[in-house]
């Protein structure tokens, strides 16, 4: 191996990201070339010195008082929510949830243009939305009925999809996101979801979203499909606290 090739791959070698054959070639070269061996040791020691120097500097850090004050101020709304959560006797009756109703003409739930936000007491809002549906109050805590029929999980965030109900007027599907979720409306306006049947994406008629900390439960009604069809739910731009590698998730539902 020429010394120039070694220099080009030195960074990768020191960071352990070379494939085994290249690593073996480097090590073979180091055993025969004293100058490159010395350079590798010097670069490794330099990297360690760099890490140590940066960590020492970080360990000496103090968060400025004005930044701490801003942080305390910005957490006030969240802290009030925690206070309500600590009163379970009242929580199920009066905890406000956001009900987002979408009546969409498009084939996807791009809510940024057509959203109506109605903060209401949960039970009342849910009954208004589904007057003929017998709603369990537990739904308002983000709990879903039964076990999911399909799930997918990436980096600690899980998408659970519940059994779709196919009627003559609509297909209703429920799904839940659980994990490190952003609890802001701005994050939800970027969220998109599509339900597709055998002939492509279905038109959405209605969507209900119940958000609680760490969980978003969505109930959506789509145009009816013929019974026995496989359905595919695709969600993207998830409201995640911690970005994950995979931003578009797909779940297939067998008939």
């Amino acid at each position: 191996m020429p010394c120039d090739d070694f220099q080009a791959e030195l960074v990768e070698y020191l960071h352990g990201s070379l494939p085994p054959d290249r690593k073996a070639a480097i090590e073979n070269h180091l055993s025969t070339c004293q100058a490159c061996a010395e350079e590798a040791v010097a670069m490794r020691d330099f990297g360690r010195m760099l890490s140590r120097g940066l960590r020492e500097w970080v360990d000496e850090g103090v968060c400025p008082p004005d930044v701490m004050a801003q942080i305390e101020e910005s957490l006030r709304p969240a802290r009030r929510r925690s206070w309500w959560k600590s009163w379970p006797a009242y929580a199920s009756a009066v905890a406000a949830v956001f009900i987002l109703v979408v009546v969409a003409a498009s084939q996807t739930m791009d809510m940024s243009h057509q959203i109506a936000s109605i903060p209401l007491v949960g039970g009342l809002a849910t009954n208004l939305l589904y007057p003929n549906h017998d709603v369990d109050v537990d739904d308002l805590d983000g709990r879903t009925p039964g076990e999911p029929v399909a799930s997918t999980e990436h980096d600690g965030v899980r998408l659970d999809v519940y059994k779709p109900v196919t009627g003559t007027d609509a297909v209703r599907i429920q799904y839940a996101l659980r994990g490190e979720l952003l609890d802001t409306q701005a994050a939800m306006t970027r969220f998109e979801a599509t339900l597709a049947g055998s002939k492509g994406a279905l038109k959405i008629h209605r969507l209900q979203i119940v958000r609680t900390t760490g969980e978003v439960l969505l109930t959506a009604e789509y145009e009816p499909v013929l019974p026995g069809q496989a359905l595919t739910l695709t969600v993207k731009n998830l409201p995640l606290t911690v970005p994950v590698d995979k931003d578009e998730w797909q779940v297939s539902l067998k008939p």
Partner: protein
């Protein structure tokens, strides 16, 4: 002790380190303050999902911080698209990338251009793998390697020169 008390009891000892980590990645204190604030809100809201208890808290919140910072960098990149050569040789470095001759490791690192500084900090302060840095910054792996290679050459030359001067002065 309430959940809120527990959170702040764990957060406050980490605040200084988080602040400086954000400063190191983002390059200025104003953005560092914003990043720590956003990180704290995110962490507080997800606090009940922390697995591993108090021991796991520092690494957990640091991970949220690094993600917040790299998101900010990616947004900067989208807002200000700049066409620049990725394989800068030392001869082609811009004046703002040249390092001054005073200060220690951080002083040398902070004077790197953002593209180089972020890669160095994520690698050597946060121990991130090169592939993870590429993903976090939304740049090709080859770009991470070339930036790291160039930045290390610059830093080494700079810090060795400083050490030489100090030895000469003694």
């Amino acid at each position: 002790m309430t959940s809120e008390d527990r959170f702040f009891a764990l957060f406050k000892p980490e605040a200084g380190r988080l602040y400086r980590t954000a400063w190191a990645i983002l390059g200025n204190e104003a953005d560092a303050g914003d990043a720590v604030q956003e990180t704290t809100i995110r962490a507080y809201r997800a606090f009940d999902q922390l697995k591993g208890g108090a021991v796991a808290f520092p690494a957990w919140i640091r991970r949220i911080l690094v993600n917040t910072c790299t998101q900010i960098i990616r947004k900067r990149t989208r807002v200000i698209p700049v066409e620049r050569p990725e394989d800068l040789s030392e001869e082609r470095m811009t004046p703002d990338m040249q390092l001054s001759l005073d200060g220690d490791v951080w002083d040398a690192v902070r004077e790197l251009d953002e593209r180089y500084r972020a890669v160095v900090v994520l690698r050597f302060l946060n121990d991130m793998q090169l592939e993870d840095i590429a993903t976090a910054l939304d740049i090709p792996l080859g770009t991470v390697k070339s930036r790291l290679h160039t930045a290390l050459k610059v830093l080494r030359t700079k810090l060795q020169a400083e050490n030489g001067e100090r030895r000469g002065a003694v």
